[in-house]
């Protein structure tokens, strides 16, 4: 057998974002030996980019808030396809997880009486997002990173897992390569936690970084685990649209939470034109009421700009389609108008949204305190992912856990802003705890050395392919992104989805010819070639699930099946690998809500 550098841990955590780090801290706390691997340097994961805040019903700003309201908001936002038990645990535990961050050194903005301040966000009934200006993610990841390094975990940075290793039906470790040298490593572990984030890189216009290639979902799928809700891909309504090189970079929802409004080319504030039935009672009647809400008036209802993301994204697309878009194909998002209401609005905006101010100033030469921004939808978040048990976060493969964006269930058909950062800490903690327990109970597994050798051969394949009909991996990736953007994007249609499946087959064939010239050291082309398998797997899962779900709900909009179908409202979709290797999609009924929770939803109307 080939010799690999081998590390042994009780719990191996793949991913060093909020979910992975929180899991690592918890598993260490339970006495497990913990190893963490991440594709990037420590502290650079997606969590660092999160801006607006972390949702937790602390009720510091509005006493009417509480876990029940947060639960109901989350279920409504997810169009009732959420796993209700996850939504319940999330709403109940988020406040404690946020307070714990403060005890570890995180500093949030304060209320007048010195408690954690909370801000408005789409779909949340009351101001609920604990935040630090618009760099909440940085505060969170740094706190977890700095606290975590003193808890005894070992970190393997710039190290990429390409395969999980199994022992019969349970997981036993992982195979990885280190980016710096291109050498292979083997991790033996009693339990593995996937915390690898999402897959926005399957699309061309995205707020996601190079890391978001669906690795965790694919690792799980290839190991026989179930994926859930893959059709629900969130398109955030406000990404930058100009200049072209920054297209897709996120503009935080915090802008709208602070009073930013959306207008079309005629200057019309179009969000009042179409308010969904589900939200009529909670939405402001007039611009005046909307503004009062943004300034914290408890008697006012939220402005329509703060409706859920799927809805806002569709409204912007409608304006563009009907010829009322902004010059570069988006809409105008204006926060400078609050100058009409506020004497020192420029300073206020710079203090509340320093990152956005900086971002537009540097990248688009626009001063957002004086001019509107141009924005449009961008691929942002994967509601779908690894199917997990709500209490333990264990997947359908024994010893394999998942948390954070790479897991599914909490958000249903559409995620509310701020509910991801809270997801990471609530379920990151749970995953770490139960993974440590599993490892203790079951001890380390053993795997067949041949599996590691096969993983090595597979990883090295891009170096050995024939140059004659070779493909440039960047080009294959680009073509995949274009194709997904065009055919499996915001508005879907059976014919297009069908043609996407055919295109995916061709792309898979091309990916099999992708070349990696050069040495194994820090070779971006090689990495891109390896990522293709993952991107293709998640893309196929999204497409197949989107094709099967014949309705429009949450983040899934079908041109050929407009509107919600009550029957589909009781079904989740599970994607798994058949024995023969083909991908199958299965409908499973949602679990009925227990009376007590159903009553909460009723009461919150």
């Amino acid at each position: 057998m080939a010799e690999y550098r081998t590390h042994e841990y009780d719990v191996l955590i793949i991913g060093a974002g909020g979910a992975g780090l929180r899991a690592a801290i918890e598993a260490s706390g339970h006495g497990a030996r913990v190893g963490v691997v991440s594709k990037s340097l420590l502290g650079k994961a997606h969590t660092v980019m999160a801006e607006g805040g972390v949702a937790a019903a602390l009720a510091n700003v509005d006493e009417r808030d509480g876990w029940r309201v947060h639960f109901a908001d989350t279920m409504r936002g997810g169009q009732y396809l959420n796993n209700w038990r996850m939504a319940e645990l999330h709403a109940r535990e988020a406040p404690e997880r946020v307070r714990e961050l403060e005890a570890w050194g995180a500093l949030f903005d304060r209320t007048d009486d010195g408690r954690i301040l909370q801000r408005n966000f789409g779909g949340h009934a009351y101001p609920r997002l604990a935040h630090v200006g618009d760099r909440t993610g940085l505060e969170m990841i740094r706190t977890l990173q700095d606290h975590g390094i003193h808890q005894g975990m070992s970190v393997h940075m710039e190290c990429t897992v390409t395969r999980l290793l199994t022992d019969g039906a349970r997981v036993a470790g992982a195979f990885a390569y280190d980016r710096e040298r291109g050498r292979f490593l083997v991790f033996r572990a009693g339990a593995v936690v996937l915390a690898t984030g999402g897959f926005g890189k399957a699309y061309r216009i995205t707020s996601n970084s190079w890391e978001y290639t669906g690795d965790g979902q694919t690792l799980a799928y290839d190991t026989g685990a179930d994926l859930l809700d893959m059709e629900f891909v969130q398109f955030h309504p406000t990404g930058m649209v100009w200049p072209p090189s920054v297209r897709g970079i996120l503009v935080t929802e915090g802008v709208r939470g602070e009073g930013g409004v959306l207008r079309n080319s005629a200057g019309r504030r179009f969000m009042f034109d179409d308010i969904p039935e589900l939200y009529k009672g909670q939405t402001a009647d007039s611009e005046e009421e909307g503004w009062r809400y943004c300034t914290g008036d408890p008697t006012a209802r939220r402005p329509p700009e703060l409706l859920t993301r799927d809805h806002v994204a569709r409204c912007i697309l409608r304006e563009v389609a009907e010829g009322r878009g902004s010059p570069h194909g988006g809409a105008f998002l204006d926060i400078s108008w609050i100058g009409e209401k506020m004497a020192n609005h420029e300073e206020h905006i710079r203090r509340k949204l320093p990152g956005m101010y900086h971002q537009f100033k540097e990248l688009a030469e626009i001063d957002i305190t004086k001019e509107p921004m141009e924005v449009g939808p961008t691929t942002h978040y994967a509601m779908g992912g690894v199917r997990v048990d709500p209490e333990t976060q264990m997947s359908t493969v024994a010893g394999l856990f998942a948390a954070g964006e790479c897991a599914a269930g909490l958000h249903g058909a559409n995620r509310l802003g701020g509910n991801s950062l809270s997801d990471l800490i609530v379920f990151g903690k749970r995953a770490g705890e139960y993974a440590a327990r599993f490892a203790k109970e079951h001890g380390p597994g053993t795997f067949d050395p041949a599996a590691a050798e096969a993983a090595e051969r597979e990883a090295l394949a891009p170096f050995h392919r024939e140059a004659a009909n070779g493909e440039n991996p960047y080009q294959v990736q680009y073509d995949l992104q274009e194709m997904m953007q065009d055919r499996v994007g915001i508005i879907r249609h059976a014919e297009k989805l069908q043609s996407a499946l055919e295109a995916l087959e061709q792309l898979r064939e091309r990916a099999g010819r992708a070349l990696a010239p050069g040495s194994r050291e820090y070779n971006a082309g090689w990495h891109t070639a390896l990522d293709l398998h993952n991107l293709l797997t998640v893309s196929e899962a999204v497409t197949r699930a989107a094709l099967l779900r014949q309705e429009s709900r949450g983040a899934q909009s079908r041109d050929d099946y407009r509107g919600k179908d009550p029957e589909w409202g009781k079904l989740n979709l599970v994607v798994r690998k058949e024995a023969g290797g083909a991908m199958e999609v299965e409908r499973i009924p949602t679990r009925p809500l227990p009376d007590e929770l159903a009553k909460i939803i009723e009461e919150m109307g």
């Binding site: 502290g43 994961a45 660092v48 050194g105 200006g133 390094i149 540097e362 010239p517 090689w526």
Partner: protein
Amino acid sequence: MMAQATFRIWRGNSGGGELQDFTLDVSEGMVVLDAVHRIQAEQAPDLAVRWNCKAGKCGSCSAEVNGMPKLMCMTRLSSLPMERPVTIHPMKAFPVMKDLVCDVSWNYEVKKRIPPFRPRAPDAPDGTWRMDQRDVDRVMEFRKCIECYLCQDVCHVLREHHKHDEFIGPRFLVYAAALEMHPLDEGTRARLLWEEGGIGYCNITKCCTAVCPEGIHITDNAIIPLKERVVDEVFDPISRALRVLTGRRGAAT
């Protein structure tokens, strides 16, 4: 705007390397990182570069652009003299790994040595604290740090004198300041900053402040107050009195 431009990129590894020219079409709004990505996709697939957010938030894409430490994703081509080649070089204060990527692992080791946050007992029976926004704001400045290590790169103590064993560098003085001035923290780090952190090496040239992409006033707001703490806590009260009398600041060197 569509024009041709030349990028002169350092290519090599720990064994050595050289500048290599790439010519490509550039268009409106492009930043240096876009150019590097295009070169990677079309001309040099194995070119090594770090990046994550492309929005100045993660601190991954640090390099020296025309000799200045910069985030490549926040450096617009329109801010550079494009009639000349744009030179892109990896940071010089750290060992190079390959092309534009250096080994910054030393920074992670340094951080581990700094005693962590130690909060005072909670203020309220429910285990929470009360803090004033003003007190929080003072530390927020330091907590904005994205760990790009550009300040470490430019500091002559590390860059020219290679005192990595004796001096933690501006980033970690900022980090220490964030802990020391945290409204809840009760730890003390002054002696350590003097004895192991080498704060005495800093002679307040402010080069670090000049390159910080987050606009942190590293010297004025972090290092000078820390130096004062060192004087207060490490040295005898006489030097403290002297400092007060003569009005000298940052006298620890």
